[in-house]
């Protein structure tokens, strides 16, 4: 009996291990191939697509860095955005959006979890319904309404647009605040702490790890998102949108495979470094229950 169990367990393990190994190869091969292709000359790439070339060259990085630019036509003429402009736009867009979204979600979840008003129940219901109810094709309407109030093509407007509590992280914050005992807040209140002090000095520090992880996840998501800036922020192109333009550009200086691959590797690096530094925090156990009601 024990022998049979041991055999089955080993077969399961070996099969899963093999599938995961194939998976790792499929993910890493294009990245590794892209990395050494970025160190080849154009001629070297044409001569041999498969293997790395020796000696490696960094010319592609120089070319990609100097050619990575976008021209945006506006009322005051055409403006050229270089890679550092796009990095700055990305930083503003991703950091502002992530912080606004995470704080609004955190504060709303705190209010709903800790203030048992009827309205809190309504807000909780709204989140659940919005998460389940699929609304398709609202993008044209969203474009119209953002234009109507000046949020369109405006960085602060983008932060406001992102500052929504209708996301899965609301449920994570909500569950966390629900588990915090009332005694903490009551003790602080007896000592004369205001509601605001309780929120900022007691509750937010209690969830600071979750808050940090969610800001980081949102930041990475927004940093990589090129479709929203493309649709809503045409005058402030981000580096992800720049990469999209770069990858489809037919201009001679860009239209070289090695340069395009190098552009991709260049854009990959900041997020990859961030991920390698914080991966333990990021992929810690994210807990989420089922949808009830």
């Amino acid at each position: 009996m024990k022998r049979k169990i041991w055999k089955v367990n080993n077969i399961v393990f070996v099969l899963l291990f093999a599938v995961l190994l194939v998976y790792v190869l499929l993910i890493l091969l294009p990245l590794v191939w892209g990395l050494y292709t970025s160190l080849k000359t154009r001629e070297g790439f044409v001569r041999d697509v498969l293997w790395p070339a020796w000696p490696p060259t960094f010319n592609n990085y120089v070319s990609a860095f100097s050619n990575f630019q976008i021209k945006v036509a506006g009322l005051q003429g055409t403006k050229v955005f270089y890679i550092y402009d796009m990095f700055l736009n990305s930083l503003l867009y991703a950091l502002g959006g992530a912080v606004c979204s995470a704080i609004v979600t955190c504060v709303t979840a705190y209010l709903v979890a800790k203030f048992p008003y009827r309205f809190s129940k309504i807000v909780y219901g709204i989140v659940i319904v919005a998460l389940i109810l699929p609304i398709v094709g609202a993008l044209p309407s969203q474009l119209q309404l953002t234009r109507a109030i000046g949020v369109y093509d405006n960085m602060i407007g983008m932060w406001i647009m992102n500052a929504s509590f209708l996301n899965i992280y609301f449920l994570i914050f909500y569950a966390t605040f629900k588990t915090v005992a009332k005694d903490y807040a009551e003790a602080a209140s007896i000592d004369g702490a205001s509601n605001f002090t309780i929120l900022t000095r007691l509750m937010i520090p209690l969830v600071k790890n979750t808050l940090f992880m969610i800001i980081l996840l949102q930041f990475i998501g927004l940093w990589n998102d090129y479709q929203t800036p493309m649709m809503f922020l045409p005058s402030a192109p981000t580096v992800a949108y720049g990469m999209y333009q770069f990858s489809f550009s037919a201009l001679n200086s860009f239209n070289v495979e090695t340069i395009k691959i190098t552009g991709g590797i260049m854009m990959l690096m900041p997020v990859l470094i961030l991920f390698l530094v914080f991966h333990k925090k990021l992929i810690g156990n994210l807990t989420m229950g089922g949808i009830k009601g």
């Binding site: 191939w33 504060v107 398709v136 094709g137 609202a138 691959i261």
Partner: protein, 335 residues
Amino acid sequence: MMKKEKHTRMLSGAVYDLRVALHGRFAGKRKPNRKFMSKKTKDMIFYTVLIAFPIAQFAYFYVAVNVNSVLLAFKSYDILSGAYGFAGFSNFINIFKEFSGSNLMAKTAVNSLVAYAVGLIAGVPLALLFSFYITKKFPGHGFFKVILFLPSIISAIVMVVLFKYFVDRLYPEFMLRVFHKTVPGLLTDSRSAFATVLFYSILVGFGTGVLVYSGAIARIPASLTEAAKLDGITSLREFWYITLPLIFPTISTFLIVGVAGIFTNQLNLFSFFSSSAEYEVYTFGYFLFAQTAYAGTANYPRLAAYGLLFTLVAAPLTFGVKKLLEKLGPEATEF
């Protein structure tokens, strides 16, 4: 000098007596020292002030956007005046004509359903098995977890650029050198383009699923699995009879939310082809996004009508799947 000092002391004594007398006279009548506001009122003000912005944001960017989207579906755009006017059901009639008159929409519907079905049949079970492997801390679990999550943090456009050249340049070269066969790139060949895009989307889509499933599996009390192991259960039976029923609420959440994917999943087509993908690979999600991005303002009412129609199909379908899973799923309490 002495006399003056005595006089002062008497005066201060009289002032003190007067203060004591006045205190005795009025102290009883003084209003009790009430706080400016009760705690209830303070709580209410705090709550209202802090929730005002999130609710206003929700009212505009969710409620108003969706109401406007419904209204837009019944309008038409006049190019000359640049104004929208009421158009009745003409957008919907045109959509039904598009559906019946061209192969594009039929192909798009088939592709969208195939993408959903493959995700359900291949993606979900694999994500569950991977999560099981990671949570059971089998060899290399930490490394696999990082690699499984890696595509979720790398920009879609970057991954796509690398994958695109990998399958269109390296694959034909590899086939030629190793098997001496001349083959086109997997994306260039229209017969393999959709399968390649679908394969890629499943390949990079494990991150969140694995993260959440492994969190749910980790919360299963160790005592349960230990007891089962003492009774001689295999890993496979543990996965089937203990893990799956106990994390079913999490799985069902993913399945319910995933129904909308039939109409929203772009399959990374925009990153692969921009707006010029071949009709053979279209999905509803790609069609709606590419049209909104490049077809211009005049097309907004038609696209809003598409959105409304899709929502009318997706919403009951989602709630139907929810009810079905509640009825058919195992009765289990998630830990």
